[in-house]
Symmetry: C3
Subunit: 347 residues, 3 copies
């Protein structure tokens, strides 16, 4: 957190709320209500945590405007109509206070063929290839590599050590985290009769549309030809593999450690939990929800909710996975039934 201090009066003004207690109470951090400390501002959003407000060490707590304390409070309050929205708003306010990186480092390698917008940050040790286009207010943190003919749209941020292979296109307002690799070769080979694999050249690229966030050390491979596409608003967490020729639909969210195999097509506003696997060429509709560690081996219709590997509809899957533990007992019961039935037949 930035080391800046505000009075709760100032914060109430920013968030559009009312103070209660000393309006000059000084805040220098956001804190949890159950582990608060002096100078901390906590949130009471979920009523089940109310008991903590009477014992918190936080200097102030943001509460709903109709909050009615049942005991005496030692903290000041900020009363708001919508404390939950205020949480994000306050974090954004603090975020915006951070000093912004600006300027082009001497040690950055920037060929003459580069087109650069205004207000950019290009950090130490960044290496650009030939004919790169960098939009306005782009930030390239140190030690990024941007290959030949790559385009990066306005306001996008590449954190330290991102690698973008030749000819990939990154949209505007994108965030790509450290160590992510965009545009590596798709995994394509043809075996001969002696099992020696010949490489299929991967001549396509990756297109990342606007407002996409890609996590640390995630990989998005280039298409064999044409493009692997990450559509606008997609959010992909860390350490996820998106293989060649995939097409990830708008506003789909993919948690960490997933593996999406080649040519899979995923619809809009799907939500994938962590460690999910998707088979190659599978087509997944819009709004599909997938539980952690699921394995999707078949197409899925819009709105399906899937869990397990191989994946099942969620109600069926929950019952099935929950009953695996009863198989040994079931075997015993069937043994017993067979024995009894045999005895019955004899008698």
């Amino acid at each position: 957190m930035t080391n800046v201090t505000f009075t709760i009066k100032q914060i109430a003004h920013i968030l559009g709320g009312q103070t209660e207690g000393n309006p000059n109470t000084v805040i220098d951090k956001i804190t949890k209500i159950d582990a608060g400390e002096k100078g901390g501002l906590a949130f009471l959003i979920d009523k089940k945590f109310e008991s903590y407000i009477y014992t918190t060490q936080a200097s102030a707590v943001i509460v709903k405007d109709d909050f009615n304390p049942s005991r005496k409070l030692s903290c000041a309050l900020i009363r708001l109509a919508q404390p939950q929205q205020a949480f994000v708003k306050l974090l954004q306010f603090y975020e915006n206070l951070k000093p912004q990186k600006l300027g082009i480092a001497k040690s950055a390698h920037i060929p003459k063929s580069t087109q650069i917008g205004v207000g950019v940050y290009i950090g130490e040790g960044v290496v650009l290839g030939e004919n790169v286009m960098i939009g306005d207010h782009v930030k390239l943190y140190p030690l990024c590599y941007v290959g030949d003919k790559v385009h990066i749209g306005d306001n996008s941020i590449l954190y330290a050590g991102v690698k973008i292979y030749d000819e990939c296109k990154i949209g505007s307002e994108c965030i790509i985290h450290s160590g992510a690799v965009i545009g590596g070769d798709g995994f394509g080979f043809v075996p001969d009769e002696n099992y020696v694999y010949e490489k299929i050249p991967q001549l396509g690229n990756v297109i990342i549309e606007d407002n996409v966030e890609i996590g640390s050390n995630t990989c998005v491979d280039r298409a064999t030809f044409s493009s692997t596409i990450i559509r606008k608003g997609v959010k992909i967490d860390n350490l996820t593999q998106v293989a060649h020729n995939c097409d990830i639909g708008e506003n789909t969210v993919i948690a960490a450690c997933c593996g999406i195999a080649g040519s899979a097509k995923i619809g809009k506003h799907c939500v994938f939990a962590g460690q999910v696997g998707v088979k190659d060429h599978v087509v997944i509709g819009d709004g599909v929800m997938v539980g952690s560690q699921a394995g999707i081996h078949r197409n899925a219709k819009s709105g399906e909710k899937l869990i397990g590997s191989p994946a099942l509809p969620v109600e069926k899957g929950l019952k099935a996975l929950g009953s695996v533990q009863f198989i040994p007992e079931l075997i015993n019961r069937v043994n017993e039934l067979e024995k009894k039935l045999q005895e019955l037949n004899k008698s």
Copy 2:
């Protein structure tokens, strides 16, 4: 794709085929038959896509030499004896048109102790340790790190940001993708009676033989002593872990997000799908096929086909995994049977 144009007559000549329609039809890209566009060259390999050839916007389509259109075509044709092989051949032709990187960047750090072959590319910001040997025509893309005493064989390519720890050996004709880490310490510790773990030094190395491809952000750990070995022709996809002292046999193919634990020995020309786990010290024979997300906890004989976790032979495994969904129903049926049998016994 490189921005070069050819007539279909030129392409037919390269591939050894016959044109039909205007031989001067200009091609500037490879395209899909179902989404073709002007200037595009599409392939009709699988007969089930034949209907697209009558509606495609592609300027030309490569077809089998005996293709007999049932309707009028608006695209030109190139007729070939083996369109499938031509696909790879054509991609390789385009790949070879790409301008090749060459020369040693000023900002690369190359100690005097380095031995360098002819025709190399060493990009901006590359850092070599002491006593490194770089073969002929090697390409080290920007920001690679190559530790002390590392050898890299002829014609190998390390893409941007690859890290090779000290003393590892990379063969000839290898491709290592961005962010891969070769030779990090194996994960070895001994706990004392207070659960404090003491590090077991990892003094071995990694040997990568010829013609190996290693995916983006994949990790191959060095051996405790001796060597972790990736044998010739192995292809490993992105984000895969190969632990210390593993031995991966010739021409084995491992898809993305797999985890191969310490000292596992995998045979020749095996094929692993994505997200597979292999237990430490497991020995897997030649030609073993492993389905996605499988967990291999025991040795596997040559030719086995395994799926599931713990892994089962594929026929058994398919039936078993496919029947998990019926367990809840099965429990109900056994309940019912027990009730009926009790009633029968009473009567």
Copy 3:
């Protein structure tokens, strides 16, 4: 291995043991007993490998002091009270012989605001942000990025290409392997009514306590506010995801390819095998053991042993997972029972 030679007399002296055979036998490597070679020193720790000692090509073998050969040996011996401890001790001895990196490379970017201890190594192409604190004897290998206000404690090592985001704290005696990313943004978004996700700024940091080792390409995300904490003595293998606000307890060991979701709290000296997933907000007690590929969706008490997904106690889980293969047969048997019972009822 370092290219240094010792006589077995010297090695016996280092380890506190007795030689048998020629005390001037020269050793230049550690080797396996079953694949020994001239100049190699092997270990016979596990009695089941005894047969190899009679055929090994190793020049010398370390044995327990009471070892009584049943046949003639061609190798020399070093007899020790505790050969197993000697293994680690000998590896550490060799490790300490390695030349240590020292000094600050010219191409490293070190702002004036940096505080640097004595005896440090800062390699080529390292980039430090503003107000970084580097303790004594710290080693930053080439091409590391260390963000603003990061602290790194004494004797810690960051291998090539590690990226540390702003404001994270790394303790003393830590080892962080190549490509690891510490302090990337946690994965937090709020959707609006059109499924457009707004980013929740991630303003916290990561605190890594003393004596922690973090594997290659592993990611530890910063907290939304406050800190993601990796407590002292924790060992995390490669390619593992630790999400925002997690708290990993002292001396816990996590193997490769695990995914620990947001705000999970893991106790002390737990042991996780590879590819394990932990759901967000789950609380896991001390000394919990988790099998490979397990999925932990609920809190776990101290001392629990868990396998499977969803995880079950180990005895129950082993039986259940081992019986999945019998479900198809079980269905047939229940079909049969139902048929027979129906016939019985008719008669």
